[in-house]
């Protein structure tokens, strides 16, 4: 079974709108990372949020972490067509392992 998983397979919003991708995980973690993968490319790290942090921002991106409910969210404001991609959460463990969820496909419509 997945140690980390996003809660939606796919989301679609219009350009300029905001969108949130949610992630849940099953065990104690060191950190949680959010990645974006565009078609034909490798994943690119967006935000790393450590287990003692509750929120992290990177430009239009905002990640939250709730260790009590073992969940995280990634919000994107003022979406653009170039935000179209698959978004992954990945949970990090003391051994250095990084385990990925199955990803949420986000489509931004013009």
């Amino acid at each position: 079974s997945q140690l980390a998983e996003e809660n939606s397979w796919a989301l679609s919003v219009h350009e300029g709108e905001s969108v949130t991708v949610n992630c849940s995980y099953k065990t104690s973690i060191t950190a949680l990372q959010w990645y974006r993968q565009k078609s034909g490319k490798g994943p690119a790290q967006l935000i790393l949020i450590r287990s003692n942090e509750r929120e992290k921002r990177n430009g239009r991106l905002r990640a939250t972490l709730d260790t009590s409910s073992q969940s995280s969210s990634l919000s994107i404001t003022a979406t653009r067509c170039e935000d179209t991609a698959v978004y992954f959460c990945a949970t990090g463990y003391n051994q250095g392992k990084l385990i990925f969820g199955q990803g949420t496909k986000l489509s931004i419509k013009p």
Binding site: T30, P43, A44, L48, G92, G96, I99, F100, G103
Partner: protein, 112 residues
């Protein structure tokens, strides 16, 4: 610029043949990882390494070997390739679970 470079970008192999996928990083990271990506499964960890000379099994190591001869290089070896190993393989480097990770552009492997 620090980077992770994978070779080859595309590979066609025959069933039963040996395949070696190579990865080089210029990030000076201690940890390196091999993942495979298949539709519906996200990225799954095959092998990883904490440094030169070390390799550890990930979540799906069967049918794969790994080699870390130096800080910069990490190889994934399929001794007897099977069609079920057709996939896209990604290499990554990092300093630990709470550090920045960098991924390569991937190797698309087709086993026929």
């Amino acid at each position: 610029e620090a980077a992770v470079t994978q070779s080859p970008r595309n590979k066609v192999a025959v069933t039963g043949g040996k395949v070696t996928l190579s990865c080089n990083q210029t990030n000076n990271h201690n940890n390196m990882y091999w993942y495979r990506q298949d539709t519906g499964h996200g990225l799954r960890l095959i092998h990883y390494s904490y440094g030169a000379g070390s390799t550890e099994k990930g979540d799906i190591p069967d049918g794969y070997k790994a080699s870390r001869p130096s800080q910069e290089n990490f190889s994934l070896i399929l001794e007897l390739a099977t069609p079920s190993q057709t996939s896209v393989y990604f290499c990554a480097s990092g300093q630990g679970a709470d550090s920045d990770y960098t991924f390569g552009s991937g190797t698309r492997l087709l086993v026929i």
